[in-house]
């Protein structure tokens, strides 16, 4: 057991903090605010290039593909510091781990360095109108035609589709097989002919949620595929094995810095806020009931932190998890909801004031969080489905 970072890791954290102070300027922040972090303007691009030079993206990936052969915990440290500064780093989503595990040499050499220098980014093309939690029932079709696949269908809630370079797509290649065994994964450039992106606006849009809000991004998308022809080299892993390739990547993508912080940052915010503000004389920091609830939330937030550390410890040892990622994915989002709703009762009517309102607290982040926090319990494996997995994979309980 060792709950401390090494001196080298502490030094890395200091370096990253200094870098952020020196390089994430007001102009960079303005550009992020104007464009959204993942749609990269010139300043953000420059920032990512510097990150790449320092070897801070894909630290744990092999050197031959642009990584550092480094530790997953170092990677976590970098991601945490940037996530706290409102910048996503290295969270190549489930794409990178899946490519590392199942990609051809050519795919690894092409995608991984591109993900590191920021020229490649993935949209996650899993969900469909009729396939959400029950993802394996997806219908988007890919039909082999000589050296090509022809893709037809629709994807839903494809968040980054309007700026990503590629889509990491799950499609059905064998409609006769049992539903988990007829799915394949494709890595497809977004500018391929026949792909159309239509925006879906969320309830965080008017007014726009402030930075740091849980699911504060205003926009996601629908993506339509109409006779989209792609070479067979776009296939990731074996044909019809896509479910397993995808599940492994998803499992890893359920853990890590940004997933953890999304659920716990409000805990820090509320402590710091009631310490520094008396809100018209309410003196919340001295109110016994408020103190008790804040302490309770803080304890849960520590559990979130420790569950993340446990996942990191497991990954660092080269293991995958049976249920630990799902455990984190249940506990943290549900905690985030409890925090958000408790804060509403602590701040009272101030907590309903949205971004831009007169007297809004912290740019309305607590109010906007009331629209976003429960969302993290739905995405990327809903809490219901995650509990199923804990029971079935972790505890060996039977299917219904």
């Amino acid at each position: 057991m060792d709950f401390a970072y090494t001196p080298e890791q502490e030094a890395l954290r200091d370096n990253v903090r200094t870098f952020i102070q020196e390089n994430v300027s007001d102009e960079v922040r303005q550009e992020i605010e104007d464009l959204g972090i993942r749609r990269r303007g010139p300043k953000v691009r420059e920032l990512y290039a510097k990150l790449g030079e320092r070897g801070w993206v894909g630290i744990s990936w092999p050197r031959e593909y642009g990584g550092q052969d480094g530790s997953r915990i170092d990677q976590y440290i970098v991601e945490e510091e940037f996530a706290r500064a409102g910048i996503t780093v290295g969270g190549a989503g489930s794409g990178a781990p899946a490519i590392l595990a199942a990609g051809t040499e050519e795919q690894k050499k092409y995608f991984l360095p591109g993900l590191i220098n920021g020229e490649i980014s993935f949209a996650l093309g899993f969900t469909e109108p009729q396939a959400g939690a029950d993802l394996a029932s997806l219908q988007c079709r890919a039909v082999r035609d000589g050296d090509e696949y022809v893709i037809n269908g629709q994807k839903m809630f494809t968040t980054a589709a309007h700026y990503a370079s590629h889509i990491y797509l799950m499609a059905r290649t064998d409609p006769e097989a049992p539903k988990h065994r007829g799915i394949s994964i494709f890595l497809i450039p977004m500018d391929t002919e026949g792909i159309t992106v239509r925006p879906l606006w969320t309830i965080q849009n008017e007014p726009q949620a402030p930075a740091g809000t849980t699911y504060g991004d205003a926009r996601t998308n629908e993506v339509f595929f109409e006779d989209v022809r792609v070479p067979t080299s776009c296939l990731l892993g074996e044909e019809n094995m896509g479910w397993y390739v995808g599940a492994m990547g998803l499992n890893l993508d359920r853990v890590g810095a940004s997933r953890y912080l999304i659920s716990v940052q409000r805990d820090e915010d509320i402590v710091n806020y009631v310490k520094e503000n008396d809100l018209g004389g309410m003196n919340l920091a001295e109110d016994t009931s408020v103190r008790d609830r804040i302490a309770e939330l803080w304890i849960e937030a520590q559990v979130c932190r420790l569950m993340t550390m446990r996942s990191m410890s497991l990954v660092e040892k080269g293991g995958n998890f049976t249920y630990e990622g799902s455990a984190e994915k249940v506990f943290a989002p549900e905690h985030g909801v409890r925090t958000t709703e408790t804060i509403a009762q602590i701040l009272g009517p101030y907590a309903q004031l949205l971004n831009g309102s007169e007297d809004a607290v912290e740019e309305g982040v607590f109010a906007h969080n009331l629209m976003g926090s429960f969302q993290s319990g739905i995405n990327h494996g809903s809490t219901q489905v995650m509990r199923d997995q804990i029971a079935r994979r972790g505890l060996g309980m039977p299917r219904n």
């Binding site: 057991m1 060792d2 709950f3 401390a4 970072y5 090494t6 890791q9 915990i73 716990v264 805990d267 820090e268 402590v271 710091n272 009631v274 310490k275 920091a285 103190r291 008790d292 804040i294 302490a295 309770e296 803080w298 304890i299 849960e300 937030a301 520590q302 559990v303 932190r305 420790l306 569950m307 550390m309 446990r310 990191m312 410890s313 497991l314 660092e316 040892k317 249920y323 455990a327 249940v330 506990f331 219901q384 995650m386 509990r387 199923d388 804990i390 029971a391 079935r392 972790g394 505890l395 060996g396 309980m397 039977p398 299917r399 219904n400």
Partner: protein, 391 residues
């Protein structure tokens, strides 16, 4: 950073489990509920032979000098087996002597603890059981080479089994930063000591202990006169973290029994484990025990490293109080009416974990400490930082 037990730690834990599964069946816990002493001396001797009693005591005094985390893992396994032994109370007192006692006291006492020849306990709580300096009302008055001890202690573990009891008492009125508390190691058989057994939910041995003008030699003072509060605080923190380990061990075993039962109990033509609502109860049970375990390990690890750990201890105990309780209650629910039956073993775990959740600090008391750490000192907080309790 590796929050999981390493190979050696895991080995110690596994060996402890194997031993207890073979030598400490639930039958024993049941029998000892009716026993006057409350523990089987043969088992105690075996624990000594295995080296458990000295595992985290200093090597100079016959111990193994292993980190507190090892003691935590052993305690967790004892909790899992609901082993009816005065392990926790003996360790709490012995570790405090190891930390604050004189060389003579350590020479005299610790090797005997390690050999299984000396059962100890400690007494802090009084009529007002809150673990604060001002609740200590027991008085010790200096009288030549002796103290004269008068007062009543509550909820003293294993007093009936212990040869000596480490008593927190008032030797001076509280003034400014000094709480005026001292620690005396009192012979349980001294003239003027009497005990009234308490009948607890756990049906384990707790007593109300009355000290009526008890003469305690000055050589029994542990630590400096009037300077006992910080020592007591360390003792309570260690005791609390170890109790959390015990709770986590017992709650996990209890959860496993519930999950196994669900896989075998058939209703509506299928095992109840196939129902999603049952599966989700089970998933939550595991989340809660895991959470309590991680918090407990971190608290023990920090203490062992000499880092401030009061916040971590309180985090662990508050969470375990609420969540280990929810685990064992859920397991009762999974068992339907059967769990309510005297002849069925499940209640042995339920009653213990529930009782432990009220000892060494309620959730409210621990959260109030956490709130002090978070809110009553300047500076912004961040998860993962080291936070100390303000004075």
């Amino acid at each position: 950073m590796d929050v999981l037990p390493n190979e050696e730690e895991q080995m110690v834990k596994n060996l402890a489990r194997e031993f207890l599964e073979a030598e400490c069946p639930p039958r024993l816990a049941r029998d000892m509920e009716k026993d006057d002493l409350g523990y089987p001396p043969e088992l105690w001797k075996q624990l000594a032979d295995l080296g458990w009693l000295g595992i985290s005591l200093p090597e100079r005094y016959g111990g193994q000098g292993l980190p507190l985390t090892y003691l935590g893992l052993i305690t967790e396994e004892l909790g899992r087996a609901i082993a009816p032994v005065p392990f926790h109370s003996t360790m709490v007192a012995a570790l405090t002597i190891a930390e604050a006692g004189s060389d003579a006291q350590k020479q005299d006492l610790l090797p005997r603890v390690g050999r299984g020849e000396l059962v100890l306990t400690w007494a802090y709580s009084e009529e007002n059981p809150r673990l604060l300096p001002e609740t200590v009302q027991c008085q010790a008055v200096e009288d030549g080479d002796n103290f004269i001890l008068t007062g009543t202690k509550m909820f003293v573990d294993n007093f009936v089994a212990a040869e000596k009891c480490l008593v927190a008492c008032r030797t001076a009125p509280a003034s400014g930063a000094n709480a005026g508390i001292s620690l005396l190691l009192v012979d349980a058989g001294s003239t003027g000591v009497s005990q009234i057994p308490l009948t607890t939910l756990a049906k384990d041995k707790q007593s109300k202990v009355i000290f009526d003008g008890v003469r305690v030699p000055r050589s029994s003072l542990v630590g400096e006169l009037h300077q006992g509060w910080p020592i007591a605080q360390g003792m309570l923190d260690r005791g609390t973290a170890l109790l959390c380990a015990q709770m986590v061990g017992a709650a996990r075993k209890d959860a496993e029994m519930g999950i196994d039962y669900a896989k075998n109990r058939v209703a509506f033509g299928r095992p109840i484990a196939a129902f999603q609502s049952i599966q989700h109860i089970c998933a939550d049970m595991i989340l809660w025990v895991d959470g309590g375990q991680l918090l407990t390990y971190e608290a023990l690890w920090k203490m062992d490293q000499g880092l401030p750990a009061s916040m971590e201890v309180s985090q662990a105990k508050s969470f375990c109080n609420d969540k280990c309780e929810a685990v064992v209650r859920s397991s009762q629910v999974l068992h339907g009416g059967m769990g309510f039956m005297m002849e069925f073993d499940l209640h042995l775990w339920y009653r213990r974990v529930t009782a432990w959740s009220m000892r060494l600090g309620t959730s409210f008391e621990h959260r109030s400490r956490i709130a002090r750490g978070l809110l009553d000192q300047p500076g912004r907080v961040r998860l993962g930082m080291n936070l100390e309790l303000p004075a």
